[in-house]
């Protein structure tokens, strides 16, 4: 008989925030001082959207802790030569030696000036996982804050592996750094490649499963049948990178085939720029005196400012009006009795040619399918209906459109984001129950509260902290190596902005420099934590080559990997189950993490630190002490750099700024402040309370899931469909760049349109690759794509045996997924070893045949191709990143590119 497990001695509560869809709350069994088992935290069942359950990745944490391949002592490089072909010759050193060596470099950098001769910060840092490393780095953010300027432009996947266009345009249009369907209420979800079941975490998966349980219809439009496609009611195998055409055609069907009564006319009139009259030069026609955009009031029969009370704005028609028009750099035109049409009329005309039949040819999808999807969208929109949300009556529009990574990254991302958000506006489904929502803000402030981030801006829209483009204000001398503030106005200037810039430009700049920008310089000190850009970025060979030239690299190292192969110092930190930290949970965060509660959760060590590993907070404090930054460091903690301000309205648990504090003392103070914050000062329990309970929350109103109430309260409009502001900014940016002699960004300037036009996106890729590498693109007949894996995404867990084992149950892990008919034409069979080559690189792997993929498409799941990471390096799994070049031609105006490249396949061996 199975024997009862009697040896369980203890259990601690902690969290897993390995991926952006976290955090998950969990409990860990401890036996004889050893963490042995991960369990759901059912004590959080009432407050956690997924009932306290835990993602598969969290179950890898036990093995992660006791992995024999871990680095357990600080190490230093003994081979001064760096590169993939060089043995680093790491040898163990003491913490004192390691920290002194780092402090010496930092102190010299400070003495030399925080910025170098090119104006770039001497210290750089790269963190992976969409910001999740902050949930593991203790008080390191306070150290960075104390330090001063830090260049975070060396990306590890940002702009390439994220939802980049959505981040930027989403924040502009509806404070949506992340966009999500209101899954708990949606009836129809049209997903363009959103891999929900692989990347939306436990909350997303639970919500979508619940939605399917109540009969939601999700249509997955994607070149391959992903796990998300598998879980959808319908799969539409669209040609890669043609999603924008499908969306444009949906808009065409809605505007040219459906009756106007199918639209949410009041929403369009009151909550969008649809009625704004457009002047001849493409800018709004404005009232001359106030400068306010004009609308045509059907009641009064004349043009009035957009905010005129009781006006009935015309959406369509042509009207004779007078006013002024303001273009770029404040150029103005006066107009008298000219014919003007509202933005909506322009929109109708703009999409006239994007018929379902046109899209059918572009997308390789039938016109009936396009039409059917558009009409279903209208059918499920529930125009005119309302719903009660905690006592507030709100519009009920249970239709949503979501966009996947490669859909909203790179060229075409803008078009797709615009099309998606516009479709939501047409039926009034933006930021209302059931519709398309933003879940978090990162570029606007405050980052923790979407409602508070809604601030009145110009022309009746929300304000947006654009990087300046006006003459005299434009930042001609970049502050970071990827020049995000110089090139990308939308990237703004929040702590997150660097990550939202064109991060591959930082790597490219190190290789080639950019004309008229400062001379490229390597950072004096480069910190790396929880990221492996030598695997996770594009053109991994080039990236590896660049980092090998950095003079001093400090990696917080778990195991040996491809990035820390070039490190000078390796610091072994207490990993997930060994370190202590408190983080914020709930409210409205990434992906589908919008909760009915918000508060804090503790990462309570479940295992004693192995070897000489140290808590990240201890490391941070030591670095601060050795660089004479202790006061600033403590002050930063007191301000809230570690997640919670220690001084509030009714409480003050501030640390003495003059001394070094112990790890538990710091987190005890933070826990006390958290208790006070969550209870409005009524409670002040510290670490012991959180150790006992694991988390502490308070109610978060569901009304705050929706931006609509705040927009109404402030009388604001969503800035759609017409992009007058971006159009102006684009012209200004172009003027500044040209004044500065920069013409290499001209292609990107074309994205600043009033409304996006279709561009042949597949052709754009083909031409760019063909011209750059001087190849006949017909020799590369397949589109190569990638997809996230539930078991691996963001986890940095390719070296974990258990994760590999369970992931292997899902087809395609470890190979190249290919359509059998396409394989047959090449004489390929299941398991055959093939070489996949793009114009810029080659990789190898085994063929995995599946019917659920287009014959012109190949798929490589996840990011592998390891050559240094123990265990992972023996998996012999291909990585698309080796085949994707970093190219300015394939960089869009937001600075992102897409995971798509054309490839050829060649058999190199039979099944082994």
């Amino acid at each position: 008989m199975d024997k009862p497990d009697k040896s369980t001695t203890d259990q601690v509560s902690t969290y897993c925030y390995q991926c952006v869809a976290g955090p998950d709350l969990l409990q860990v069994d401890i036996e004889d001082g050893v963490a042995t088992q991960v369990r759901p935290n059912f004590s959080a069942a009432e407050i956690h959207p997924a009932g306290g359950r835990v993602c598969v990745k969290a179950y890898g944490l036990i093995q992660k802790t006791y992995n024999p391949n871990r680095i357990l002592t600080p190490m230093k490089r003994t081979n001064p030569k760096k590169g993939r072909d060089q043995d680093p010759g790491f040898v163990a050193i003491t913490w004192d030696e390691a920290l002194d060596a780092i402090a010496q470099k930092l102190n010299k950098a400070r003495a030399d000036g925080l910025n170098d001769k090119s104006g770039f910060p001497r210290v750089a840092a790269s963190f992976g996982g969409g910001g999740t490393p902050t949930s593991y780095m203790g008080t390191f953010p306070a150290f960075l804050a104390a330090w001063g300027p830090v260049d975070m432009s060396f990306g590890s996947g940002q702009g390439v592996k994220c939802y980049h266009s959505e981040h930027l345009y989403g924040e502009l249009w509806h404070r949506a750094f992340i966009v999500s369907p209101d899954t708990p209420l949606a009836e129809l979800i049209i997903s363009f490649g959103t891999n929900t079941e692989a990347s939306s975490g436990v909350c997303g998966i639970k919500r979508h499963a619940d939605a399917r349980g109540r009969g939601v219809k999700r249509i997955q439009i994607e070149p391959h049948l992903s796990v998300t496609g598998a879980c959808s009611a319908e799969w539409v195998p669209i040609r890669p990178k043609t999603d924008a055409a499908f969306l444009f055609a949906m808009i065409n069907v809605v505007l040219h085939e459906a009756d106007r009564s199918r639209l949410d006319i009041p929403f369009l009139k009151e909550r969008t720029s649809s009625p704004y009259l457009i002047a001849p030069n493409g800018f709004y026609l404005r009232e001359k005196t106030s400068g306010k955009p004009l609308i045509w009031d059907l009641k009064a029969g004349k043009a009035v400012p957009f905010d005129t009370v009781d006006a009935d704005p015309a959406l369509e028609g042509e009207f004779k009006v007078s006013g002024s028009e303001t273009g770029a750099d404040d150029v103005t035109w006066d107009h008298k009795k000219i014919d003007c049409r509202p933005a909506f009329s322009h929109l109708v005309e703009h999409v006239r040619g994007f018929t379902a039949e046109w899209a059918a040819k572009v997308c390789d999808v039938s016109a009936d399918t396009v039409r059917s999807v558009a009409n279903q969208y209208l059918d499920h929109a529930h125009i005119g209906e309302t719903i009660d949300i905690e006592g507030m009556t709100l519009p009920f529009r249970p239709v949503a459109i979501s966009l996947g990574k490669t859909v909203n990254n790179g060229w075409g991302g803008y078009e797709c984001c615009w099309g998606r958000t516009l479709l939501a506006c047409l039926v009034g489904a933006l930021e209302v129950p059931g519709g398309t929502l933003g879940t978090t803000v990162r570029l606007n402030r405050p980052a923790g509260d979407r409602w508070k981030s809604v601030k009145k801006g110009p022309d009746g829209f929300m304000d947006y902290p654009m990087n300046p483009t006006a003459k005299g204000e434009w930042i001609s001398k970049p502050t970071t190596r990827h020049a995000h503030r110089t090139l990308v106005p939308l990237a703004a200037n929040s702590p997150w902005s660097q990550a939202l810039g064109p991060t591959h430009l930082a790597w490219m700049q190190q290789q080639q420099g950019f004309e008229k920008l400062p001379e490229p310089t390597a950072p004096d000190v480069w910190f790396v934590y929880r990221t492996n850009p030598a695997i996770s970025f594009w053109d991994t060979k080039a990236v590896t080559g660049v980092m090998a030239k950095f003079p001093f690299t400090v990696c917080f190292a778990y195991t040996h990997d491809e990035t820390n192969h070039t490190a000078d110092i390796l610091l072994p930190e207490c990993t997930d189950l060994e370190g202590l930290q408190l983080i914020r949970i709930g409210g409205s965060k990434y992906i589908e993490q919008f909760w009915d509660h918000q508060g804090f959760a503790l990462r309570d060590p479940a295992s004693k630190p192995r070897g000489e590993t140290r808590d990240f907070t201890w490391i941070s404090t030591e670095l601060a002490r050795r660089t004479d930054l202790l006061e600033k460091y403590n002050a930063a903690i007191n301000r809230g750099a570690a997640g919670v301000g220690l001084k509030g309205k009714n409480f003050d648990f501030s640390l003495d700024e003059g001394s070094a504090h112990g790890v538990e003392d710091i987190w005890n103070a933070i826990c006390r402040a958290a208790s006070a914050e969550v209870s409005d000062g009524a409670e002040s329990q510290g670490l012991d309370y959180f150790r006992k309970h694991g988390f502490r929350v308070r109610k978060y109103s569901r009304q705050r899931w929706y931006l609509y109430p705040e927009m109404v309260a402030q009388g604001l409009r969503f800035e759609l469909p017409y992009q007058e502001r971006l159009y102006r900014i684009g012209q200004e940016l172009g003027a500044r760049l040209h004044e500065h002699g920069i013409t290499w960004w001209d292609r990107q300037l074309k994205e600043y349109e009033t409304m996006p036009n279709w561009q042949d996106l597949p052709g754009l890729w083909e031409r760019a690759l063909s011209e750059r590498f001087k190849v006949d693109i017909d020799d590369y007949p397949f589109w190569l794509l990638t997809a996230r894996s539930m078991q691996y995404s963001w986890g940095g867990n390719a070296g974990l045996q258990m994760i590999h084992e369970v992931a292997s149950n899902i087809a395609g892990h470890g190979g190249i997924i290919m359509n059998p008919a396409a394989a047959g034409r090449l004489g390929l069979s299941e398991g055959d070893k093939v070489e996949v080559s793009s114009p810029s690189g080659k990789t190898r792997g085994a063929v995995v045949l599946r019917h659920g993929i287009r014959p012109d498409t190949l798929l490589m799941i996840g990011q592998f191709g390891h050559w240094a990471t123990p265990f992972a390096k023996d998996l012999d799994v291909p990585n698309m990143n080796e085949l994707t070049p970093m190219m300015l031609e394939l960089t869009d105006a937001t600075g992102s590119g897409a995971d798509v490249v054309k490839v050829a396949v060649k058999r190199i061996g039979a099944v082994t």
Partner: protein
């Protein structure tokens, strides 16, 4: 009564493998061992393709094939439907593993070490030594159920009393409860949804139910999943060659069959002539060698005694019991020249041989074995091999030619019977369907029971009427072709049942679609 069962809602399952991982944690299973896992199915051809995920594990069957075959009392079944394994009694013969049509059982012989070398700290702390060398599988987290119930908790409702996989399921796809309780959630789900169970046609009454579409409908109404002989991308769910029984098990069927057949032939001859002691010796040596080989294969070899002291009516147990009088009487027959003793020993040998046939037939997890006609094939080929070997020994020993002339027609008759049983078996297997790879294996090679080979064998035997020495060749061919067939049957044609999905589930507002039985065909 109580009948614990799992209901898996395929509309909800996303294939995340969280249950797989939670099970590994809860039960401290070793690397590569998955008591619970989720399969990835695909059906149809581009662009009309559907994909679904199917959680599998021990089905805790109403009629568990593993229980029927267990030679000791290690495998048990409780009144509440849970199929158990007593690790202290299990001898590790892996018969249950080949009998399970759900591939739910595993045997692990070495300590857990996911990275090889020394076990990690958590592996060392949780090493389950009692599971070494014995069969293991999902227990439905029996301890949680029992301890939970002792506290007044309800399995499937209270987490503390619910299997870890169900607790962990992030999609809410897995449900646990008592299907005999009409008020339970699992009963409600079954009443409100169309559902199927895997391999329903095998009559095992599995305890995992799969919901595939809303709406009430009798499970029996589910259509049979279409077989797809050569599916692509479905290797993980298609039948696989079993690895539990290797050449050592094959040796038992080979040597046991020939040995008992030889003894029977010798006993028969002994009625009419001087007993051929060498034949008896060789026969017993063969049977003993076969049993020694299979003993080498079991995980806990010194527990073989449990077959006798904790016996159940498994055909393996019966084989073991038949071996005792066979050896005793066989040994006696060397010293007592009594045809009665010889015949008695031979009868025991024939019982042993029959048991071997029934052992294979009871192995429901292997389509090539469980086909009813396999019993006659095993018996007929055993006798054929025995008679063939006897003929060889007789000729070599210079036995009277008249006896040889008697052996020849007998051997011809046996060859004819063997061919008949083989054809019956093969045709029935073809009609019923089997893994594509099984057919390929059975049809490959030269040393088998196929018509040309048997014709050649029979020709040599028949020609021995003219040229007596050809009986040696004919006899050897009778032996070798039987051995070849059995070696193929045990080690090369023994593909598992594999998995199938009766219906691809409706997802949300979508429609369900035909399922798939990959890697199967009729032939």
């Amino acid at each position: 009564m109580t009948r614990w069962a799992i209901v898996a809602d395929l509309n909800r399952c996303v294939g995340c493998q969280t249950c797989t991982s939670a099970c590994k944690h809860a039960n401290a299973t070793g690397p590569g061992v998955q008591w619970r896992k989720v399969l990835d199915f695909e059906a149809g051809e581009f662009p009309d393709v559907t994909r679904a995920f199917l959680p599998v594990g021990c089905m805790h069957c109403d009629e568990p094939p593993c229980l029927d075959v267990c030679p000791s009392t290690a495998t048990g079944k409780r009144d509440d439907g849970i199929v158990t394994i007593d690790y202290d009694l299990c001898i590790g013969c892996a018969y249950c593993a080949v009998a399970c049509p759900y591939q739910a059982r595993t045997r692990v012989d070495s300590p857990n070490a996911a990275y090889g070398g020394k076990p990690m700290r958590h592996e060392a702390v949780r090493e389950q030594w009692d599971r070494h060398g014995v069969s293991q599988k999902c227990t439905f987290c029996i301890d949680r159920i029992d301890e939970g119930r002792a506290k007044g908790l309800i399995p499937g409702v209270d987490h503390e009393a619910t299997p870890a996989c169900v607790n962990s399921c992030i999609a809410g796809a897995l449900h646990f409860g008592d299907t005999d309780d009409t008020d339970s959630e699992v009963s409600r789900l079954l009443a409100q949804n169309k559902h199927f169970r895997m391999h329903e046609d095998l009559g095992t009454g599995p305890g995992i139910h799969y919901l595939w579409e809303p709406g009430a409908e009798d499970a029996a109404a589910v259509e049979t999943a279409p077989m797809v002989a050569d599916p692509v991308g479905l290797a993980a769910v298609s039948p696989k060659l079993q690895t539990n029984w290797d050449w050592r098990a094959a040796a038992n069927f080979i040597a046991g069959g020939t040995g008992t057949g030889l003894f029977a032939a010798a006993a028969l001859a002994g009625i009419f002539a001087e007993p051929l002691l060498i034949a008896a010796l060789v026969a017993m040596a063969l049977v003993a060698t076969g049993l020694f080989c299979v003993w080498l294969e079991i995980g806990r070899p010194f527990r073989f005694i449990n077959v006798y002291f904790h016996s159940r009516r498994s055909w393996m147990t019966r084989e073991a019991f038949a071996a005792l009088p066979f050896f005793a009487l066989g040994a006696a027959s060397l010293f007592i020249a009594s045809p009665v003793v010889w015949i008695a020993a031979a009868v025991c040998g024939l019982v042993f041989l029959y048991c071997q046939g029934r052992i294979l037939r009871a192995a429901k997890g292997i389509p090539a074995w469980r086909e009813p006609g396999i019993v006659a094939v095993i018996v007929s080929t055993g006798l054929c091999e025995g008679m063939g070997l006897f003929a060889v020994l007789a000729v070599i020993s210079g036995i009277d030619l008249a006896l040889s002339q008697t052996v020849t027609p007998l051997l011809l008759a046996l060859l004819g019977w063997r061919y008949f049983t083989w054809r019956q078996y093969r045709e029935a297997l073809g009609r019923r369907g089997a893994p594509t790879s099984t057919f390929k294996a059975l049809e490959s090679g030269f040393i088998n029971l196929s018509p040309p080979v048997q014709l050649i064998t029979a020709a040599f035997v028949a020609l021995s009427l003219v040229v007596p020495m050809l009986l040696v060749i004919g006899g050897l061919l009778a032996v070798l072709t039987g051995w070849g067939f059995k070696y193929t049957l045990i080690t090369r044609a023994a593909f598992t049942q594999g998995y199938e999905i009766s219906r691809m589930p409706a997802r949300g507002a979508g429609k369900s679609a035909p399922g798939i039985k990959p890697g199967w065909m009729v032939r």
